[in-house]
């Protein structure tokens, strides 16, 4: 009993440096944002701010108007579409990569990891200028070769949504491919051999062996990707909403919407209140996922 207590204490002691680091990097910013959200910190009270209670939260609720609701719905659709496409495309590519006797497998894998090696900001702007630009973009050069008129790819809500999805897939697929590839390679080949002897088709093998076997391994990666997609800012902002380079599209995620309707005000108290509300929203989604996971187990 005494030894068990000692072990527990020691394990806490060894974990202390990591816990301190996590507290500093994750917990402190959240707590500090929470504190600032209760103050009137803005341009007019930058260094002499005082506690104003829940005032910012009451005001923040006005930001959650019809525009915010549209952005929330668009964000949910954006997340769902991206996740479905990511899983399907990654699965197809990984299946092809795992075809036996495939030549240059390592080269293909390296090429598929390439988008990950580039900074996201650079990739997004390259897509914007190199592909979607009306004047110089590759897509319109192809359109011209086909005798078609130039298209403003990022100007309407639907086409901007599609373009943003393509860029997001380009950025996110390497992670999903890597995880799925690892999961697929961990499946014991004897399952497939037995299935083949039993006359199972490719579809049967996929349905009854591959998918059930990789699901628990890729589940954490899927959950992480759901949240990074849900709180996506860079892709949508840089492609369509960047100051001085707006394209005419009204497609907003909740973060780009909150940025345009709160964060530019230099009112840190108010912006922090909105950040905390979005944080709670994500926390609720996360909790629901976790609960469902627990239940499924």
């Amino acid at each position: 009993m005494k030894n068990r207590k000692k072990d527990t204490l020691l394990s806490y002691l060894w974990s202390t440096p990591s816990l301190i680091l996590i507290a500093l990097m994750v917990v402190f910013p959240i707590l500090y944002t929470g504190y600032i959200s209760l103050t009137n910190m803005n341009v007019y009270h930058w260094f002499d701010f005082t506690i104003v209670g829940m005032e910012n939260y009451i005001r923040a609720l006005f930001v959650f108007d019809s525009g915010f609701l549209s952005a929330l719905i668009a964000t949910v659709i954006w997340t769902a579409v991206n996740m479905v496409l990511q899983l399907i495309i990654a699965f197809v590519l990984v299946t092809l990569l795992n075809v036996q006797k495939l030549k240059l497998r390592k080269l293909y894998k390296t090429l598929l990891m390439f988008p990950w090696a580039m900074p996201g900001y650079v990739s997004i702007l390259l897509w914007k200028t190199g592909m979607f630009n009306t004047q110089f973009g590759l897509l319109n050069q192809w359109m011209e070769k086909l005798g078609q008129d130039a298209v403003r790819w990022l100007s309407s809500d639907v086409s901007a949504f599609i373009c943003c999805t393509v860029v997001n897939l380009w950025l996110a697929l390497p992670f999903m491919i890597m995880i799925m590839d690892g999961a697929m390679q961990s499946i014991d080949r004897s399952y497939y051999e037995s299935a083949l002897l039993d006359g199972a088709s490719w579809l049967d093998r996929t349905r009854y062996i591959t998918v059930p076997a990789i699901t628990p391994i890729i589940a954490p990666a899927v959950i992480i990707t759901v949240f990074t997609t849900f709180k996506q800012f860079d892709v949508v902002y840089l492609l369509t909403q960047q100051a001085g380079a707006k394209t005419g599209s009204g497609f907003h995620t909740i973060l780009t919407y909150a940025y345009e309707n709160a964060f530019i005000t230099n009112n840190y108290g108010y912006s922090s209140a909105i950040s905390i509300i979005i944080f709670i929203l994500l926390l609720v989604f996360s909790a629901r996922y976790q609960m469902r996971e627990e239940r499924d187990r």
Partner: protein, 401 residues
């Protein structure tokens, strides 16, 4: 017990007061750190001049890419903040309200600004207090490629420009291009109709009709320009010879010369309907003094400010990087007189409107950007778009407080 407690409290107070007492090392009092975000040519000219003009003050220039954000974080912390910074005037209101800026008039001789262009002094003044010592200014200019647009073809009026565009746009070529849906560029058109984006009291779009008229008229030009409004597309079109004329800043000139464009610079066209010229925003670059430096390093700061009001540095800057000096005496110099670019900016200074320096302007860039995008790129109605923009402006300005 009470006595002991009182003694302990008194001791704590004494220790804290001793710790808080600010003493400044004499060597430190003669060292000034200046943050900036300027190009190398400007800083090299300043360093070279100041080495001889104020040899007894050590001046260190530090380049900061996100200067305004850094100042918001450390502006009131003498151990981390600079003593001064060089930046455009449009953030004066924000920093003055934050309480980190010192008025500069107290640091200058009474007649130091006597010969300055009025626009440059007005730009750095917030609530009747001057917070910026102007060095030079930039403004947009009408530029054209002489290979395609001859000097006698340069439009004098906006209707003339429209006629030129109609005649010379098509098959991948443009008669004229500009960043038509960004607030900084479109402000010239709004001013040309007598309107403004925000007034000195923070009221957005004080003359709604003028703004709507400008938007409606400007749409005819937008129809003859590319759908993209961003800097890179517009500049590349002009620099690659696919556009005959543009409205751009002096920062475009080195690239145009490098691209071997026979560059012409002309006065802004006049709006036929109002008789007023397109009046672009001007940005005045100048020196801002932080409160701590003004209080604790006042002698060194005064020497630096005095040196910077000498026309010699304005001339150096104009020759080194084509800046238009704020001090009118600089324009008497023969070399400056012969510089077409500097003279064009000097002429535009007569009509240019300094960017508003009130904090509320921070949100108006986004509001006007949205309005222009709605009207020019999304094809939405002017009245509805304007009403939505006005509502958003009022909400955001309210949210600032």
């Amino acid at each position: 017990m009470k006595k002991t407690l009182a003694l302990i409290l008194a001791l704590i107070m004494l220790v804290s007061m001793t710790a808080c007492r600010t003493t400044i090392d004499p060597a430190q009092a003669n060292k000034l750190t200046v943050w900036h975000d300027k190009e190398d040519a400007v800083i090299e000219a300043l360093e070279s001049y100041l080495k001889t003009a104020v040899p007894d003050v050590e001046i260190v220039f530090e380049k900061k890419t996100s200067l305004t954000d850094s100042l918001k974080l450390v502006g009131n912390d003498p151990s981390a903040a600079p003593d001064l910074f060089i930046f455009a005037h449009d953030k004066v209101g924000v920093f003055a309200e934050m309480g980190i800026l010192a008025p500069v008039k107290d640091l200058l001789a009474a007649d130091a600004l006597e010969h300055y262009l009025p626009m440059t002094v007005e730009a750095g003044t917030y609530q009747d207090t001057l917070y910026q010592l102007p060095l030079y200014f930039e403004t947009l200019l009408f530029m054209y490629n002489r290979r395609y647009m001859q000097d006698d073809e340069v439009p004098v009026t906006t209707d003339g420009l429209l006629a030129y565009m109609q005649k010379n746009t098509g098959r991948g070529r443009y008669g004229f291009v500009e960043q038509h849906s960004t607030a900084y560029y479109s402000a010239a058109w709004i001013h040309g109709f007598g309107g403004s984006i925000i007034d000195g009291s923070g009221t957005p779009f004080p003359d709604a009709k003028a703004v709507k008229d400008a938007l409606e008229y400007h749409l005819k030009f937008v129809a003859l320009m590319p759908g993209e409004t961003e800097y890179n597309t517009v500049n590349t079109l002009f620099l690659e010879g696919k556009a005959d004329a543009t409205i751009g800043g002096p920062w475009m000139v080195p690239s145009a010369r490098a691209a071997e464009i026979n560059l012409g610079i002309a006065a802004m066209p006049t709006v036929d309907a109002t008789g007023k010229a397109l009046a672009p925003y001007s940005g005045v670059q100048g020196l801002h003094v932080l409160k701590y430096a003004a209080e604790h390093k006042s002698e060194a700061v005064k020497k630096l400010c005095a040196a910077l009001t000498d026309p010699a540095i304005g001339i150096d800057l104009a020759l080194a990087s084509g800046c238009a000096p704020a001090n009118a005496l600089c324009y008497d110099d023969e070399r400056v007189k012969n510089d077409e670019l500097v003279q064009a900016m000097r002429a535009t200074a007569e009509i240019a409107v300094p960017m508003p320096n009130i904090p509320e302007m921070d949100v108006m860039w986004t509001v006007v950007g949205n309005l222009l995008t709605d009207v020019n790129l999304s094809g939405k109605g002017i009245d509805d778009s304007f009403d939505a923009a006005l509502k958003q402006a009022e909400q955001l300005i309210d949210a600032m407080k």
